[in-house]
C-alpha cells in the first residue's frame, strides 16, 4: 500500500476510535480491536521507569467488553463526556505486516456543571493490523502525561 493511502486508512481508524468514545457509543468500541488485543492506559511516570502498573490494562477484546459492561451497569460516577483531539500522527511499517502509529491526544472532559477541562493528555502508541474485517488495533498503548487523575477514570481514553 502506498504511504499516502496507508496514512489515510490509519487516520480514519483513529477518527472512528475517538468518535466512538466521544459519541458514547462504547458498545462499539471493542470492535475496533482484534480479539487478542492489548489496551493499556499507563502513566508516563510509570512507563518511563519501566514500572508495569497501568490505570487500565486489558489483554483481550473480551476484557474491553467487561470494562464497558462495568461502566454501564456497575460503576458509579458523575455523568461526564469526553472530547478527543488527536494530532501529529506518524505511521511506520512493521516487518510482520502490521503498522505502528504514534499520535498525540488531548481529552477534554465535561461534567454535569457544564465546565469543560483538560482531563488527560498523552500519546497513543498503536500497532494496527488489517484483514478482511478491516483496520483494527492489535495494541493500543495510551501513555498519559496527566499523572494526577482527577477524581476517577471510567471512560476509556
Amino acid at each position: 500500500m502506498d504511504s499516502q493511502a496507508l496514512y489515510h486508512q490509519i487516520s480514519v481508524l483513529l477518527s472512528r476510535y475517538v468518535h466512538t468514545i466521544d459519541d458514547d457509543e462504547l458498545e462499539a468500541w471493542p470492535d475496533l480491536f482484534t480479539e487478542q488485543c492489548v489496551y493499556r492506559v499507563i502513566s508516563r511516570e510509570n512507563h518511563a521507569r519501566g514500572m508495569p502498573v497501568a490505570a487500565m490494562y486489558c489483554d483481550s477484546r473480551a476484557m474491553l467488553i467487561d470494562r464497558v459492561v462495568s461502566l454501564r451497569h456497575a460503576n458509579i460516577y458523575e455523568q461526564q463526556s469526553y472530547r478527543h483531539v488527536v494530532s501529529a500522527l506518524l505511521v511506520d511499517d512493521n516487518e510482520d505486516g502490521s503498522y505502528s502509529a504514534r499520535s498525540n491526544y488531548v481529552v477534554y472532559r465535561t461534567r454535569t456543571n457544564g465546565v469543560t477541562e483538560v482531563y488527560n493528555t498523552g500519546v497513543y502508541e498503536d500497532r494496527i493490523v488489517t484483514d478482511n474485517e478491516g483496520w483494527r488495533f492489535a495494541e493500543k498503548h495510551v501513555i498519559f502525561d496527566t499523572g494526577r487523575i482527577d477524581t476517577l477514570m471510567v471512560i476509556p481514553i
Binding site: 502513566s43 514500572m51 476484557m63 456497575a74 494526577r148 487523575i149
Partner: protein, 420 residues
Amino acid sequence: MTSIVNATTNPAVLDWPQTDEGFAVPYDVFTSPDVYAREQERIFRGENWSFVALEAEIPNSGDYKTTFIGDTPVVVTRDDEGGINVIQNRCAHRGALVCRELRGNAAHLECVYHQWAYDLKGKLLGVPFRRGVKGKGGMPKSFDLGAHGLDVLRTESLAGLVFATFSDEAPPLADYLGPTTVAAVTRIFNRPVAVLGDQRQFMHGNWKLYAENTRDPYHASLLHLFHNTFGLYRASQQGASVMDGDGRHSLLYTRASTTDEAVDREIYKDSRSLNSEFRLQDPSLLAGRADFDDDITLVILSIFPNVIVQQIANTLAVRQIVTHGEDGFELVWTHFGYADDDEEMRAIRIKQSNLIGPAGLISMEDGEAVEIVQKAVVRDRERASYIAMGGGRAEDAEHLVTEGAIIGFWEAYRQQMAAA
C-alpha cells in the same frame, strides 16, 4: 450585655453535638480552613507517625523521594550507611525547596537557588562564597555550618514501611501503631517487596472523608457494585472490623471459607449467582493465587493519619493521603508485589491492578463518594452527620455491618484537636 466577641471562641475548635444514640460529626470539620490549619499542627505535626515511603522505593545509597506529611514537603533519603532519613524539604538559607523532583539519586542534596549543599542526612556541607569573593562579602566569621542543617524528622521503619514524626513526644512507632496494626503490616510485608508503580488520584473533598471511607465496611457492597453486578460475591465470606491505637487505626478484613487454592481459584473464576444478568467475558481478570497461609482475601488497614495498606485478592498497595487544603487531597497508590514473585504471579498482580486505583473497577467510586459529600456539606456548618450502624459506638465487630471504626477515628481526632 453579652459581648459579641466571645474571647474563648476559636473557629478551629469544633462544637461536637452530643447525641443520645449514634455519633454526630459536625460538617464544619470538612469545610473550615481554620480547622484544616489546626490539623496541620495537631495531627500532621502532632504526636502521630505519618507514612512517607516504602524502603523498596529507595533501595540504593543516594536514592531519594520527595513527598509530603499533610501539606509539608519532605525528602526521604537513603544515606551512605544504608540508613533512611526524613528531612524537611526546605533550605535553611531562604526557605526554598531543596529537592524538586519526585525521585532521584544524588551524592548530596543541593538547593538550586544559592547552591547550599547538604549531605543525605541533612547536614550542611558548604555554602558558595562563604569567605567572600576577592575579600568582599562572605558570611560572618561566626557562621557555623553545623547550626544550619535541614530540619530532620524522627524516623522509624516497620517491615519496610517508613514513618516520620515532627514530635519528640510521640511514642516509639510500634507502640503508636499497636499490636494488631503491627501484625497486619508484618503479615503483608513478610518478605522483600518490589514496587510495581504508582497511581495518583486527586479527590475534590476533605481528606477525612477518605479516612471515614476506608473505615467503613457498610458501604462496600452497596457502593462498589462490580462484584454484585457480575454475580461474583462470595456467600462464604466473613469479615471483621477491629481497631487499634485507641481507635485511631482500623483493620477491616474478609476471609474466604477455604484456603484450598484450587477451590479458591474456582470460586474466583466462575462463581456467579444464577440470577446475575451479566458475566465476565474474560474471567482471567480475577484468576489468582493464594498469597498467604491464612484465608484472608481482603485487608484494608487504615493507619492514622495518612496511610492505608491494602490487600484485595492479589493486589497489594499502600495509599498515602496528601492534603491540599480543606477541600482537596491527593491519594498516592504505590502498588507492589514480592521480590521473589515468579512471572505468573507478577502478571496476575498487573492484571488485577484493574480492580484498584483511580480507574479501579472496584475502587473508583470512592472518588465520587468523597466528592458528593463535600459538595453537599457547604454552608450548613452547624449541622452534623449521623453514624450509628452497628450500635453507634467505637467498638470492634465480628461482621461488616458496622461503622464503629469510623467513630474510633473521630474520637481520636476530636481528642487531638481539642482546646489547650
